[in-house]
Each structure stands twice: as structure tokens, then as C-alpha cells.
Amino acid sequence: MKKKNLNFILGSILTGIVLLVMLVGIFYTPYDPTAMDNANKLSGISLAHPFGCDNFGRDILSRVMKGSGTTLLVALSTVAIGTFFGVLLGAFTGYFGGLLDEVLMRIIDVVFAFPSILLALVFISLLGPGKGNVIISLGIAFIPSFARIVRSEFIRCKNMDYVKLARLAGAGHLRIMFVHILPNTISVLVPAVMIGFNNAVLAEAGMSYLGIGVQPPDASLGRMLSEAQTYIFSAPGFALFPGIFIVVMVLGFSLLAEGLKRD
């Protein structure tokens, strides 16, 4: 009881901070996040620049404020797509089994076998670059893992007596799947979603790195982190703040989820 509350409170605080920074970032940043300043290149923490500056002398705080919004948007929507379709697929295949299961799972295998980068490349070439397409292609790459987890839980639950009773009470397949069985998969699904959120933040960074994600000079936390790698020795702080912010963001969400989870 107490632990749950603690998780919830801590999670809300961290998430609150992230959301606040993000929302404020939409309307106000201390500096123009793309404005360069030769004099301040890689300068450390100072009063004027509390998070220091990057290799172009851009204010890291401002970039983090702008970038976290992008990151959050991409990560949340990616996970939403992945979870939504993953749950849908996993539920259908696990619940009905048989040929449908065989065929759909093989399709999922196919998607899973494709390196997400190739997948992303294909989508970006089909749809053109841009945030939305990054979300779509990453989201698709995320589907298989959710589908598999949900599927195995559905296989476990579908033979339970309560499922049979629900059928007798007149519940349709859809209702049985999503109202009766789905809540029983929560204990496995929630950690998976948190992991997914995490991976999405990082995958977005990876894609930006390949040039198919967020385009410079726009900031996203992942992109900032990968830009900072080169300076890991000379300006460790450059990597530190976006990094910490990712951790705070992910941590906040997972604590919140943990706190909300009932069992």
C-alpha cells in the first residue's frame, strides 16, 4: 500500500517535471535553441547557461526543453502504435489459435526479422522523411514484441473457466478478449510497455543518427545524446544533461505506471 503510493508520488513528480519543462519549452526557452555562439562552445555549467553549451555554443537547457517535447511525442506515439497493434494481433492469434495464429505469427516473424533500420529506410523512402513517418516505422517495428507477449498470456488465460462462463453469459469474442482476458495480462504488459517506451526514445536517437530521424538543427534528446558522444572526454556535461533527462523521463513514467498498477 505504502510502496504503491510512494511510486505514484515519485512518478508523478518526475513526470510532472518532464511535462512542465516540455510545455514551457513550447512557449519559452531561455535562448533560441538553434542560436550559435562561438564564444561559448562547449562551455560548462554557468549562471547564464545552467546546463552549459554544446559544440556550436547552443544553450543545452533550451535544447533540452525543446527536444524533450519531440522525444516525448515520438516515443509515446511509437509505443501507442506498437502496443495497440501488438495487443490486437497478440490477442487474436493467442485467442483463436489455429491457422490464423500460424499465419499472423509468421508475418510477425517476418517483420521481426527485418532490422528496424531497413524497415525504417523503406518507410521513409515510401513516405518521405519527417516525424510522423519516423513514428510509423518505429511503431511497426515495435509491434512484434508486444504481440508475442500478449499472445502467450492469451494462450494461458483462454482455457480458464471464467472465460467459458463469460461466453455463456453471452459475451462476444471481442469482449472476452479485451474486457475479460486483457486485464489479466496487465502484470506482464505494463513492464513491456515501459521497456518499449524506453526503446522508442533510444531508437529515435538511432534513426536521427542515420539521418532518417529528426533533422538538425532541431533537437531531440536522443539526437543530442548521440551528438555529444564525440565530446565525452572534453565535455562530459554535454552528454550528461540530455542523458539525465531521458532517464528522468523514462523513470517517471515507469514509476507512475507501477503506482497505478493494481494486482
Binding site: 473457466d161 471464467y162 467459458k164 462462463l165 453469459a169 453471452g170 459475451a171 475479460h180 489479466n184
Partner: protein, 255 residues
């Protein structure tokens, strides 16, 4: 046997079910286990049919087969009720662990009636009361209930829709006698009021006697004797029936 087909709510002809045991190891090759070996009977509308039998003789299998919950069977099952209900022998796995008792009980109403939330809740607390449970239990998860409480929740769930056919697999086994009596009375009154037909599986010979009009005695996947309760209880023919009645101490009572 029966030719009054018109008012049969359930009719079963030559039902056979076998479980295929998966090979456990190289040394125990796969073999089939015949559980029901040709069962035929029928239940009329509004009638309570008792089913008594040896433990492991196939009663639960029969009850599941009747409602199509066993994928593979041979024989004919004709079932004419709109929402046949079932009370499983195992009250724990019949209750969705992720939902509260209140939600579980509301579900049949939600699905089949246009009642609004308040009305549903009212019906639920009424039903809880009728099966002898406190209303506050609606707020609990199944694992927070005692065995008998779970069983009563299952009974309540099966009665929510006023079904025409109820298959009850040992519904009162975990209840103490006072509550048992209360549940029996409840079932009787519902049966009278709404013409509910029940296949009542129990090993408590007395309870079966009190509730049923007819009774079947089952052993080893076959029905060895059936007929009116009085007939079977006081003039048993099959040795197993006699043995049962003897063990229950009914024969002495009757004599």
C-alpha cells in the same frame, strides 16, 4: 426412452467423450482415456435432474460437454435454452482474478439487458443478499473471499439472467448446512417462479433428494440407473446405487 420431445429443454443421445493423454514419456505411450461411454438422457423444462456418481466418473466432463465446452465429442446434444448457465465445480478459476466481484456479477446484465448502472448495481446487491452474502463483498477481488463465499458468487452469477437451463456442478459442496439450505431454497423458488431446469450434480444424496424430481446415478462413464427420485432412492436396482444409499445412511432411514 422419452418420447415427450416437445418440452425437453435438453436432450442427449449416446454421448461419448474421450481425453487423449499426451505421451508423458517414452515409457508411457499415448493412449486415449474414455470418459463418457454413451450417455443418453433428457431434461424437461422446469425440471431438476439430479446427477450422482462416483468421483471421477465423468460428471464434470458431461456438464462441460453439454454446453459445448469440450471441443471433441460424439453423439447428439440438443439444447433449447437461450442463455444456459453453468456453475463450475472449481469456484476459484471461474472468477476472473482481475475483476471485482461486483463487476463479475454485473457482466451478464451488461451484456444482455439495457439496465443502467444503478439498476444493475441494485440487482447485484439483491442477488448477493439472496445467496447470503454481504453487499460489501462486491468491492473485493475473488482471492479475498473464503471458499464458500466464492462458491456463492458463482451461484449468484449464474442466476443473474434468470436462465431457463442451469448446469450446476457441485454448487453447494463448500457451503455450511445453513447456507446450503438457504441456497437450496433459493434454487427451488427460482425453479418454481421461472420454470428453471437444472442439471444438479452433487454427491450429497440428501440434497439431491430434496431438490430433484428425477435422478441419474453414474458410474464409470455410464448411467447405471435413472428415474424418479422416490423410485431410485427407495427401490434401487443397481448394486452401486444401493451402495451409495447405504453409505449415505439413507436406506436405513427409508426402511
Amino acid at each position: 426412452m422419452e418420447n415427450t420431445q416437445t418440452n425437453n429443454i435438453l436432450m442427449v443421445k449416446d454421448l461419448r467423450v474421450s481425453y487423449s493423454q499426451e505421451a508423458g514419456s517414452v515409457f508411457r505411450p499415448k493412449k486415449d482415456l474414455d470418459v463418457l461411454k454413451g450417455v443418453s438422457f433428457s431434461i424437461r423444462e422446469g425440471e431438476v435432474m439430479g446427477l450422482v456418481g462416483e468421483s471421477g466418473c465423468g460428471k464434470s466432463t458431461l456438464s462441460k460437454a453439454l454446453l459445448g465446452l469440450i471441443p471433441k465429442y460424439e453423439g447428439v446434444i440438443v439444447q433449447k435454452s437461450e442463455h444456459p448457465q453453468m456453475i463450475f465445480q472449481d469456484p476459484f478459476s471461474s472468477l476472473n482474478p482481475a475483476k471485482k466481484v461486483g463487476w463479475i456479477l454485473e457482466e451478464p446484465l451488461r451484456l444482455n439487458t439495457g439496465l443502467n448502472r444503478a439498476e444493475r448495481e441494485k440487482k447485484v446487491s439483491e442477488m448477493l443478499r439472496r445467496v447470503g452474502l454481504e453487499e460489501k463483498l462486491a468491492q473485493r477481488y475473488p482471492r479475498q473471499l473464503s471458499g464458500g463465499q466464492r462458491q456463492r458468487v458463482c451461484i449468484a452469477e449464474s442466476l443473474m439472467l434468470s436462465p431457463k437451463l442451469l448446469i450446476a456442478d457441485e454448487p453447494v459442496s463448500a457451503l455450511d448446512v445453513t447456507i446450503q439450505a438457504q441456497i437450496i431454497a433459493l434454487l427451488r423458488s427460482i425453479q418454481k417462479e421461472m420454470g428453471l431446469a437444472i442439471l444438479f450434480i452433487s454427491h450429497d444424496m440428501r440434497v439431491v433428494y430434496q431438490l430433484s424430481q428425477r435422478v441419474m446415478i453414474m458410474k464409470d462413464g455410464e448411467i447405471v440407473e435413472s428415474g424418479d427420485v422416490e423410485q431410485v432412492y427407495f427401490h434401487p436396482e443397481h448394486p452401486y446405487t444401493k451402495k451409495l444409499l447405504e453409505a449415505a445412511g439413507i436406506l436405513e432411514e427409508g426402511d
